[in-house]
Subunit: 190 residues, 2 copies
């Protein structure tokens, strides 16, 4: 395996679950990184790509070392994309039970999980890698998992992300898709 280890490559997130998921994916691809356990300022936007780009640019300006971050969101078609880029806030306030209440009488439960990885190696050079998984909102919470994992069922599956368990989820998830794209690019880049 083409091993590329950078002692200064940072992954910035204050979410330990995300850090753990990403470490498993990148280590399999031979990429090591330092987890910087920190939160950072995000802008408001309906586009994950815009939010991730601005965050990476600001963090690079401050830290001046190659770094990446990830922003993700659950977009529910019949709720005009809600909770979308504010998934984290919505999870913390109304949670899975709130989203299920909103979907109570809605037959079309189509939704998608999106992940955007932003990699910065200088102020004006932000690279984006996205992963999208289509699916539907479950009728009730199933399985134990973080965030909206207990209510999201990927297309062609019968189980929620949470029911699958971390190993199986990581073979199909939006985060897996985005970080695999990032890994493939990173190993051959520069």
């Amino acid at each position: 395996m083409n091993q590329k280890i950078s002692s200064t490559l940072l992954f910035v997130t204050s979410n330990p679950n995300k850090a753990s998921e990403v470490r498993k994916i990148l280590n399999k691809n031979g990429i090591s990184f330092h987890h910087m356990n920190a939160s950072y300022q995000e802008i408001q936007s309906s586009s994950l790509k815009t939010i991730a780009t601005e965050s990476a640019r600001c963090l690079y300006e401050r830290l001046k070392t190659p770094l990446f971050l990830e922003d993700s969101g659950l977009f529910i078609e019949q709720l005009s994309g809600f909770p979308g880029p504010y998934s984290s806030y919505v999870y913390k306030t109304i949670g899975n039970s709130g989203v299920l209440k909103l979907m109570f009488t809605i037959a079309n439960r189509t939704s998608r999980f999106e992940s955007v990885v932003a990699y910065a190696e200088n102020d004006n050079d932000i690279h984006l890698f996205s992963g999208i998984v289509l699916g539907r909102i479950a009728d009730k919470k199933k399985g134990k998992g973080w965030g909206f994992d207990p209510i999201f069922i990927p297309r062609n599956c019968d189980e929620t992300y949470a029911e699958m368990g971390i190993e199986s989820k990581q073979r199909v998830s939006h985060r897996y898709v985005a970080f695999t794209k990032f890994s493939n690019w990173f190993k051959t880049h520069g």
Copy 2:
């Protein structure tokens, strides 16, 4: 009345309803302004004051003229403050009917509307004026009004903001309280 007219004082908002409400309040207080019909970048934060401060600072940096803006939100106690600083996004996606669904089985409907006015006259001199009105979420939409006005009943009232009509609302609203504070300060300032 102490009339203070500044030809360069800007109120920046892309919301024509807000512009109209604010013009009525400030004109009564003898303050004229130019409405700049523009949207601007906001940061993500659970604090309206933090969001308004950063927005005013960034706008002043760009425009270099005295300006003010307003950020407001509906905070529902039993939903951990949701929709709070993201009230505009939540209104555009799930709307009043979504909030009513979330409150369907909740007896304690206590909530508050908050308004924060941020006035900037140089990069490092942001003045904040806040208005809070306590109230409750109605059982159903009542009256015609914008935003969450049809579902918010101020304390000691039987009508929603929307039922009151614009004139009556303006005598009690969170926006009225914040802009009255701003007016009183502005007329005697400097």
